[in-house]
């Protein structure tokens, strides 16, 4: 699941949570595949983001994410467990982007 700002929402994205307006009414249900028309409507409502299918990671490029993680680990202390954690976090990103 990814939280995407309205400005970055694209046609074809699938909603994983309903969009609810200020008065608590469901405007678009869970599972809706977004169309241009719906996105226009969202732009006119007081809503800043939606939850869509996919990984949070994909809002950034894979390389950028891996670089960030490598940098954090390089600066920090290390031992057997840290090496394992580092490796699994990179693996997780690789798999998310498959």
């Amino acid at each position: 699941m990814a939280k995407v700002a309205i400005a970055n929402v694209k046609t074809g994205m699938k909603l994983l949570k309903p969009v609810i307006n200020d008065s608590g009414m469901v405007m678009l249900g869970e599972g809706t595949i977004l169309t241009d028309q719906m996105i226009n409507k969202l732009n006119n409502m007081n809503i800043s983001f939606v939850y869509v299918e996919g990984s949070q990671a994909k809002t950034k490029s894979k390389e950028a994410l891996i670089n960030e993680i490598n940098e954090r680990f390089q600066k920090s202390g290390t031992n057997e467990q840290m090496v394992l954690l580092h490796k699994l976090m990179i693996e997780h990103i690789e798999e998310t982007y498959k």
């Binding site: 680990f73 920090s76 202390g77 954690l85 976090m89 998310t96």
Partner: protein, 279 residues
């Protein structure tokens, strides 16, 4: 240079600082009382509309995992029990102070709560909600130091970033104690449950925890995972090293750790916008 002799009494008296929100001060007087009952707490919350709305928000958030299922304060109290409710109230009341001390500490804290819950569930531990509370409050010592010594503490954070060192090491240099000790002092002063005090005191030295060794190890590990993910901000951009004894006590297999990393992704995305700012 800060007079360390008086440090403890100064930290213990932070509830008298003028910068402390009045709700927090009132709340402390209620939860400090060891004989306080669930119904006393219930009426205290219900008399304060802001607190009521925050409690409802928190119990329905990914931190506790009753999404959309709790609509009244009484229901929350019955489901969560006295100790968890006390901790949760403290968590929602230190929200402003956290934002003031360190931008990103609130996110770090709820990230740690959510991750502690994920690990605790995976290992089949009892009292998962108490682990969540410990996650939210594990850095309360930073809030106390930040409230009492705002300029000095901001200076330490800046130095930690500039020099790429751990904030905890700089705390020790300047104050001779760290947020672990100051957190535990506050916990004792405010009558936190013993388990919570031990987790606060040893989350950076989990090998020293005797009575709540596994819970302390879980929060230690959760803290590290949240920082490794780069979620929120805890005062520096480094990742503390996993303590091998704590690692062994939690006993996650390689596959389980990988599952935890994946589950964190979704829960952190959900809690990313979880904010107590009153609408």
């Amino acid at each position: 240079m800060i007079d360390t002799k008086n440090l403890r009494s100064q930290i213990e008296k932070i509830d008298t600082l003028p910068t402390i929100p009045s709700t927090l001060r009132k709340l402390l007087s209620v939860i400090e009382d060891p004989k306080v009952s669930l119904s006393d707490i219930g009426s205290f919350i219900s008399n304060d509309p802001v607190l009521t709305s925050r409690v409802i928000k928190v119990v329905n958030s990914p931190i506790y995992g009753f999404p959309g299922r709790i609509s009244s304060v009484n229901q929350a109290l019955i489901l969560l029990g006295l100790n968890v409710v006390k901790g949760m109230l403290l968590g929602v009341s230190v929200f402003e102070a956290m934002k003031k001390t360190m931008e990103g500490l609130w996110e770090h804290s709820i990230g740690c709560a959510v991750t502690s819950k994920i690990i605790g569930t995976k290992k089949g531990l009892a009292d998962i909600e108490e682990l969540s509370v410990a996650g939210i409050l594990h850095d309360i010592g930073k809030v106390a130091m930040g409230l009492k010594f705002l300029d000095e503490y901001k200076g330490l954070i800046k130095k930690a970033i500039d020099k790429n060192v751990l904030l905890i090491d700089l705390e020790k240099e300047l104050f001779f104690v760290t947020h672990s000790e100051t957190g535990a002092w506050i916990g004792q002063r405010w009558n936190f449950p013993k388990s919570l005090i031990e987790i606060l005191e040893y989350h950076h030295k989990p090998q020293l925890s005797k009575n709540y060794a596994i819970q302390t190890a879980v929060v230690h590990l959760a803290d590290i995972l949240v920082r490794a993910k780069g979620f929120g901000f805890a005062g520096d951009y480094l990742i503390p090293t996993i303590n091998p004894i704590a690692w062994q006590r939690v006993g996650l297999s390689k596959d389980e750790l990988k599952e935890v990393i994946a589950e964190m992704e979704d829960s952190l995305a959900e809690s990313g916008e979880f904010n107590l700012e009153d609408d």
